[in-house]
Symmetry: C2
């Protein structure tokens, strides 16, 4: 039974909502300075105590003292797969269906290439408002493998998929607007036309309901340094539906993906399991921090996490509406990810003025302010006060004041 969160209508209500918040304890996992309101968890999640501890263990014991022995004694060989397993529940997958490897860019490349063998046609499709990396990678892959590339207009990717039966790279959440796509409906279209969707879950994981198995998704990748708090540049995860693993080939093999890496064989025999999507040696220190970070989610009901994120977002959209802001995100929480965007001609100055009040938000050129609502560490009172500050800045136009410019820490 999911407790409903209701966005508070007053500061007192915000305090009361926090007092009754069943997820309130999740904030204790984080090592953050008091007084800071951090609305940028969708760009870089903050450090948890366990992430820092896991990193310390990996560096100061396993590397410094265990040295090369730690590949066995600390089981570094399976760390990428074990860490993937920790993440599986957050995206509605089985542990064996997820591993950590490389960057999102590299994983999208690998999966979109491998998907060719499953799809009715080899056409590659991406929408022109997708996160840029997705577009670069898929266009380059098409050029390299000599297949047809379609850069579809926003919202027309699924239509092009239905038309071609090719491979579509598709973000579950739009990185600008926060708009959430319907995964199950999209997979239905893919199943009907013989096409394949490679999902980019970068802005989704840890903040919206991602039910890969239930939705019939076959392939996905995503980043781990946003709502998962894995650390700066933490390595990416990839998902391959279990029954498909053995049928798929990575275009970027490497010794860590071999069935018998220590036989040092001249020819490549991919591992039976998802490890076949590994290539070289993974960055163990970054991976260890990620593994520790994921512990913050371990005992949490993900549907509660999603419900709280939605209520935090509703609080922002409602108050932003009252302020007359130009909201660029869906108002219906069930169609929105974890961030809310608004446009303002003075967006840059406003974000600086917020930073001067110890409220960190994102600016995206030319005119967008993004608030990321990370439900594990944000309180309703934090978001309420941030909206108060925003209201004050807008009313007093205090971004014109030199003092804010001077004190500003964020560009």
């Amino acid at each position: 039974m999911v407790m409903a969160y209701h966005p508070p209508k007053s500061r007192d209500e915000a305090v009361a909502t926090d007092r009754h918040d069943i997820l309130a304890h999740a904030r204790e996992a984080f090592d953050m300075e008091g007084g800071l309101v951090y609305l940028v968890g969708h760009s870089l999640g903050p450090a948890t105590h366990n992430a820092l501890d896991a990193l310390h263990q990996a560096a100061h014991y396993d590397w410094r003292r265990g040295l090369v022995r730690s590949w066995n004694t600390a089981d570094w060989f399976t760390l990428a797969k074990r860490t993937g397993g920790q993440l599986a529940r957050l995206v509605g997958a089985k542990p064996a269906e997820i591993m950590i490897a490389d960057s999102v860019s590299a994983n999208l490349y690998k999966l979109a290439s491998a998907a060719g063998s499953l799809a009715a046609s080899s056409d590659l499709i991406v929408e022109e408002d997708e996160f840029p990396t997705d577009q670069y990678v898929i266009e380059a892959l098409a050029g390299m493998s000599g297949v047809t590339f379609h850069r579809a207009a926003p919202g027309e990717g699924l239509g092009k998929l239905a038309e071609t039966g090719g491979v579509l790279v598709h973000s579950l959440i739009n990185y600008r607007t926060g708009a959430l796509r319907d995964m199950a409906a999209a997979e239905k279209i893919a199943a009907d036309c013989g096409g394949v969707i490679v999902w980019d879950l970068s802005h989704a994981t840890g903040v919206v309901d991602v039910s890969l198995s239930k939705a019939g998704a076959r392939l996905a990748a995503g980043c781990t340094y946003k709502y998962l708090n894995g650390g700066p540049g933490a390595p990416s995860f990839l998902y391959v539906r279990k029954d498909l693993t053995g049928k798929l080939e990575s275009p970027l093999p490497g010794w860590m993906g071999h069935a018998r890496p220590f036989a040092f064989e001249a020819t490549y025999t991919p591992a039976e399991d998802i490890t076949r999507f590994a290539n070289g040696t993974p960055p163990i220190l970054s991976l260890a921090a990620l593994s520790g970070a994921l512990e913050a989610f371990e005992a949490l009901d993900i549907s509660l996490v999603v419900a709280k994120a939605q209520a935090l977002g509703d609080l922002v959209t409602r108050r932003a509406g009252e302020l007359g802001l130009d909201i660029r995100s869906p108002l219906d929480a069930s169609k929105r990810g974890g961030h809310v965007s608004f446009a303002h001609p003075n967006a840059h100055e406003i974000v600086r003025a917020l930073a001067a009040r110890n409220i960190l938000a994102d600016f995206r050129a030319p005119d967008t302010i993004r608030f990321g609502l990370s439900p594990l560490f944000l309180r309703f009172i934090d978001v309420w006060d941030a909206m108060d500050a925003l209201a004050d800045i807008l009313e007093t136009k205090s971004w014109d004041k030199d003092e804010y410019r001077k004190r500003a820490a964020v560009t």
Copy 2:
């Protein structure tokens, strides 16, 4: 003027050689347990104080306190390029010619693909005793781009290059035998036939003379977790000769390699400089540790480092010869990298028996013992005593004793 190191002929001479060693202070950079003789620096280099400090700074200050601001305030955006610059001197390149990115596997893939536009033919060549990843990656790349793949017999890669004018992936040092290739002579052959060599410097960097510019090398990649002590799975480096950068395209682009990453443009315009070979967000924590590790080399004359490594290797080969061991590495130090291999039917048991005496070495199936001679932290007395221990183990056949099996820590 390079001080000549002479391999000692007695234990007293070893002590004296250490006492006069102009590089003796380099050992102080390392945070290692006393009494341990670590002959596995060619598999995973030990931690330095500065690597651990840089990691602490990145995790506890830049991430934990700076949060997303650290992309600017700690200059994470240029860390991959700056760290590459630190490494340049060790491989005889200019700082702008090196960057850190991804794994060796991914970088070989990128460079071998990009090299196609420079070579007279698109054929891809690799020798069958190359490190397996090099073979897997190049064979997969050939399959993907539909070009001819040649797995040449050992020693016949250059002949195949001369015949085809294609692209050869070539290790400077053989990972099994430690044999060192002549880079300048190979580049001469490449220049004559219009072919291109992509060098794998994994076993070479930090221990032999690598003079990329002087030898006329155009492309290279290598790992950083061996003699460079960058940490477990530390990200790889890649080298592109400066005049070629603008002509080469990465098959694996990404937003971090874009000329204007924050314009979020739909189409890819590669950065002017070597940053074009980046793809996704790099693993900052692992990268920070590497950056700190490279400081150990900063004030050292690399020709001295090479001379010491050679003398340590000579000490091993000479004493191994006296023990009648089947040495699989070149006896001439100028033709050998930083490790010495011998074959023995009881190699596995011998490595375990050494480990029981706190001497760590590598076993490679089925019958190979590898000693890595890392000149920054190894003393002549360490290697002398390791050879004494080896002699004792061989003479007493103490690998047969259960006690060693039980105490053994390394497999």
